[in-house]
């Protein structure tokens, strides 16, 4: 489709939606319910159906069956009645965010899975998003927009879907940022679903607190997609903590083991995604949080070393060496630990140590794709 044709189609869609905007109270959506074709809600769904069509074949969508099954299992455990109405898409993207489109497309960034310490924390996010869907908050927000702005603003959102799939959803999030009342209601309903599903609701406030710590440390706090649409983090964290304490939480679980087992194969890649955002202070907080949640295993130590190596300020070379050595001593360090240790030792002028590290790397990684380069380094050091 050419951009001109696409824009024309979107313009027609916007006019269609605008002309069909309804008024009156909005009821919760029922399981299996679809909007009637002549309604503005159907127009909203149509917009997001188009974006979803592209999302289905996106290379950013994580297709691993175990991870997808895990996410769906949590969602369906929260509310089985709506399970069939929600399509979940795990998108490999750094940073904390999740969103729910009016047509039941729930997007979960891998950055959010990385940051949640257990299943209950993930459930708190899903419960919140599911509540937005059940409450038809997108439709409410759309009608508010229609009453306060002109179609051009909405058109901006609509064209976002053509500019880029995720950009489309991001623009959608931005335009459709929900009111505090809607967020409060989604928090309350999400918390109730958590509790009914057997998850410890106290984990919800903890999730927020972790994010606040990251944001406060960040070099670029405005960059966070989540905080740009959820500004009242502190207040909501306190409210959620209070709400969670008002009920008997005995018998609830946090689901730490399964969360750790399912996410372990991906954690390294996701940490690398975060590290490459180069917000080192924030990344350090994230590493500290993950360490506090469990043990500082070899993988976390390796990425701590990588953070220091890439930041390369003041005492960072020494800190990187310490972290890499700690990783190798704690067992199961990725082979790349030795390569990185070799690089930082070489830069620091520690040739003997650099040689030893590179040789260990080559011995550990028999089929290293950069073997020729490392061997070349070793020759250069002679």
């Amino acid at each position: 489709m050419t951009s001109t044709r696409a824009t024309g189609l979107l313009a027609a869609t916007v006019l269609f939606i605008a002309s069909c905007a309804q008024t009156g109270s909005i009821q919760k959506i029922e399981p299996g319910e679809r909007p009637a074709l002549e309604t503005d809600e159907a127009g909203l769904w149509m917009q997001m159906d188009g974006v979803e069509e592209k999302l289905r074949t996106s290379g950013k969508v994580v297709i691993d069956p175990d991870l997808n099954a895990y996410v769906r299992d949590i969602l369906c455990r929260l509310n089985g009645s709506y399970c069939a109405d929600i399509r979940t898409y795990i998108v490999r993207t750094a940073d904390f965010n999740a969103s729910m489109a009016p047509n039941g497309v729930m997007i979960v960034w891998t950055g959010i899975i990385l940051r949640t310490r257990n299943e209950a924390q993930l459930a708190s996010v899903f419960g919140h998003e599911l509540a937005h869907y059940i409450n038809r908050d997108s439709l409410k927000r759309w009608r508010e927009i229609r009453n306060t702005t002109d179609a051009a603003v909405f058109f901006t959102f609509a064209t976002g879907g053509i500019a880029g799939i995720l950009a489309g959803f991001a623009a959608y999030d931005s335009i459709m940022s929900f009111s505090r009342d809607m967020e409060r209601e989604a928090d309350t309903r999400g918390l109730a679903m958590m509790r009914e599903a057997g998850y410890d609701p106290r984990e919800s406030a903890k999730t927020w607190q972790q994010l606040i710590e990251e944001k406060e440390a960040s070099d670029e706090p405005k960059r966070s997609a989540f905080f740009s649409t959820h500004p009242e983090a502190k207040e909501r964290s306190e409210t959620l903590a209070k709400l969670a304490e008002e009920t008997d939480n005995s018998g609830t679980t946090v689901g730490r083991k399964r969360h750790a087992a399912v996410t372990a194969p991906f954690r390294g890649d996701w940490l690398l995604d975060e590290l490459r955002q180069r917000d080192y202070a924030r990344f350090e907080v994230l590493l500290n949080q993950l360490t506090e949640a469990g043990t500082e295993d070899a993988e976390l130590l390796f990425y701590r070393g990588e953070m220091y190596r890439l930041r390369n300020e003041d005492e960072d070379a020494e800190k990187a060496i310490t972290a890499y050595i700690a990783a190798t001593e704690s067992g199961d360090a990725p082979a790349a630990t030795y390569r990185s240790l070799g690089l930082v030792q070489w830069s620091a002028g520690n040739i003997t140590e650099a040689r030893a590290a590179f040789e260990t790397y080559l011995a550990a990684e028999k089929t290293a794709e950069d073997r020729a380069m490392i061997e070349y380094y070793l020759k250069q050091m002679q």
Binding site: S58, K60, G164, A167, E220, D273, N312, L343, M373
Partner: protein, 185 residues
């Protein structure tokens, strides 16, 4: 990737204003640092220390010729608020690969990987090369390759990338042949 494409779009628009010029199939000098000899005609737009060559459009495939990069230089600028990796003359080949990969990732691409780092001749100079892959914001897979060398502390680098389906393979052989004609000046 939205920002990464913004760069590409900017270059395209820049090309519209500054006009893409044709590159004939004869020896070309890149930034007074090295020469290459294309076997076919390309369109190019230059911006500081980089020349972007393309045939079907920079959003589909492009060769980026960097020359004389110095300490603190960026591969590209994503936005004024985005902290981009910067070049450091003390970099080893592994660091340069991370510099390229990190820049593409910081520009918004996903699944960015640099692989198969190996020594390679950059003209008469010992350099390095590696492969690239990443996804755009549309989720489109791109493949790429890069070859470079650090000469007197300055980085000279050629990065070719194109959509995995059709466009990257379309000009790969020509790019490889062109790389074989590099002569440092």
């Amino acid at each position: 990737m939205k920002r990464f494409f913004a760069i590409l779009v900017t270059l395209t628009v820049l090309g519209g204003c500054a006009a893409f010029s044709l590159v004939d199939a004869k020896q070309q000098t890149i930034g007074n640092a090295y020469t290459i000899k294309p076997g076919i005609q390309w369109s190019k737009v230059a911006d500081g220390k980089v020349e972007v060559w393309t045939i079907d459009g920079p959003g589909l495939e492009a060769v980026r010729f960097y020359s004389g990069m110095e300490a603190g230089d960026r591969l590209f600028t994503a936005s004024k608020d985005t902290k981009m990796p910067t070049y450091d003359p003390a970099m080893k080949a592994s660091d340069v690969m991370e510099f390229v990969v990190g820049s593409i990732a910081r520009g918004g691409a996903g699944n960015v990987e640099g692989t198969a780092l190996q020594p390679a001749q950059f003209g008469a100079t010992s350099g390095f090369r590696f492969d690239l892959s990443y996804t755009s914001s549309e989720g489109l897979w791109f493949d790429g390759l890069a070859i470079g060398a650090i000469i007197d502390g300055k980085l000279h680098l050629i990065v070719y990338a194109g959509a995995r389906q059709y466009y990257f393979p379309k000009y790969r052989d020509e790019v490889e042949r062109m790389i074989g004609t590099i002569e440092t000046t």
